[in-house]
Point group: C2
Chain length 360, copies 2
């Protein structure tokens, strides 16, 4: 996988693009006036690995709240601005690291002024073009992907015309294929970092599949410097799915990778509830670990040897592996507890050990 | 998206490869001796769109059971054979349409005999190479992907040497990147249909993400003629995820696509439980439909207009759309019921209407 070459920009101290790791973002889902609720969502997402958080700023109260949220947030904040140039200008006084502007929801003249102010205040800008809010003038394009690219390029030019270069771009549609095409096209035309996402991806299950396909395809083509998985669910879910996608492609490793066989007529134990329970108990771990749960003699023992720790299930008892070595033999009812014990031991032995990772 | 050119083979009456739609498969997860349990899983998967089902055949009892299962199955059956050449030869008397052989679990001489018998009996063969059970002789390769390809090519040659051409191939690893590389490489070297899958993908959540990334990337490159999503969960889940992946890429449309915004500080209603409930209530529908649930004035109304039916949420009431036309205005507590009513009406108006689709 060869990553597309881009310039590197900064969001506060966070590097985006160039040789920086692909950054994981999310967005809070309560009105910022609910300062504690917002900070709770930020904190949960942060613990799951979120590195920058977007917050909607729909009114003056939101701007006021942003000051305190900014002061207490462990990660850079991006203010999401629509419709009101006045509010946008007010946000520069909150010290947030970034703003997101949508050319479809801000008059062009105002957009130029805000971009100019961003340059002056050293605030990083995401130009976020969205299929749901494309300005009328881009409806002339036959293909949605072309309209998205044209709109993004015009905003890029507008930014550069006022001397702004700390920009990243997103081109989102709710249609996967249009999103793929728009991003591929934009990627060949500029060297700005790209923020990937699928808009209105939907609820947890289908939103996860659609996002994994879209982001997976683009990342495998080397496109994407920061990502957000949009789900109709809490921000922490978005972050978990984002890392699962990045881990799958070997781009960033975080959290537990459970390798478990799908089970079949050869399997002598009911693996589904065991694996389901295990997945739940391990979801908060940030340390990269591979845990295998295999129910079958065909692939079981060989696969389990690759894992940090694993169970290969036989008829009445399972064999516990740790880094390739058999260390125990136990009946199914003890598998989960012993696996958790072993995982805890591995976590404690690691340099990155912290108490919140413990599983018991 | 340009699909790789392959020869077309048949599994019973089902066409695979060439210009045939990408076929969705799954695998049963109980011992076939449990005939009713096996048929229940087949039936559930079939209703979700499963077009061929694999069944493990670990012993003689399984072979016996296969006869009755075959007689009652609405879709072609593929017997999964390992270790015992004798059992494999017995399976030819059950009239199943296909067999799956793994060069890593069958001695080479026996493999040749079985392939020859398959040709004679007109039984379609999948050669399924798996990272967990690669024969010793392929351990010499530095890269796992190269070892998988070499093993598959040797089996291909063995098949052709006895005049067998009704073959498809799978190259599965539990590592996404290795699986991508193996399939890409194999795809350039032969014109046989490819069966895609990621082995030991894991439990529902992470297995879904890993499978969506792997299959999404390969399908977007035109590779893959039949797919199976392996999950540690019931076959029907595997089929649902498979269709979500195919739908995302526009390769096959089936079931409801829910477009819903991730919600943010602008959203005045709690969309998450509404969308979650809706997703559950609509998961059994096979008719392709787009349903929008939008909570925000920024993208809401515009996006909802594209959907077959949708709600755009305002402060105290939502606007109900049907194919772009506003047809009602209602408070949040009535949204789900009215959406379901509208969806039922759409289903009834369609040619493919059947009672099992109804949502009320």
């Amino acid at each position: 996988m060869k990553r597309r070459k881009t310039k590197q920009i900064k969001l506060g101290e966070l590097k985006i693009g160039g040789d920086a790791p692909i950054v994981v973002q999310s967005m809070t889902k309560v009105h910022p006036e609910d300062i504690e609720g917002t900070l709770f969502q930020i904190d949960e997402a942060y613990k799951a690995g979120c590195e920058a958080i977007r917050i909607a700023v729909p009114d003056r109260k939101a701007v006021e709240a942003l000051k305190e949220i900014k002061a207490r947030s462990p990660i850079p904040i991006i203010a999401d601005l629509h419709f009101s140039p006045k509010l946008a200008m007010m946000v520069f006084d909150t010290a947030v690291e970034g703003i997101r502007l949508n050319p479809g929801t801000m008059p062009k003249e105002a957009l130029k002024e805000i971009l100019s102010a961003a340059r002056e205040k050293k605030v990083t800008v995401r130009i976020g073009v969205n299929s749901g809010s494309l300005p009328q003038e881009y409806h002339r394009f036959e293909k949605l992907s072309e309209a998205l690219v044209a709109c993004a390029l015009d905003a890029l030019e507008l930014g550069e015309s006022v001397g702004l270069y700390e920009m990243k771009f997103s081109l989102k549609a709710s249609d996967v294929v249009e999103t793929l095409e728009a991003n591929r096209r934009f990627a060949t035309l500029t060297d700005y970092p790209i923020h990937l996402g699928l808009t209105e991806a939907g609820p947890l299950f289908s939103g996860t599949v659609k996002s994994a396909v879209t982001l997976g395809v683009l990342l495998s083509e080397g496109i994407g410097d920061t990502i957000r998985v949009s789900l109709t669910g809490p921000p922490v879910w978005e972050v978990r799915v984002a890392y699962k996608i990045l881990s799958a492609l070997g781009l960033r490793k975080r959290g537990v990778d459970i390798i478990s066989c799908p089970t079949c007529g050869r399997c002598k134990v009911d693996l589904i509830p065991i694996v389901t329970e295990l997945e739940k108990k391990l979801e908060h771990i940030t340390e990269p670990l591979t845990v295998a749960v295999m129910g079958c003699v065909v692939n079981g023992p060989t696969e389990a040897r690759h894992a940090d720790v694993g169970i290969a299930a036989g008829k009445k008892s399972g064999v516990l592996f740790r880094k390739g070595r058999i260390i125990d033999k136990l009946p199914p009812e003890r598998w989960i507890d012993r696996l958790l014990e072993e995982i805890n031991a591995l976590l404690k032995a690691s340099d990155k050990y912290n108490e919140s990772s413990e599983v018991l």
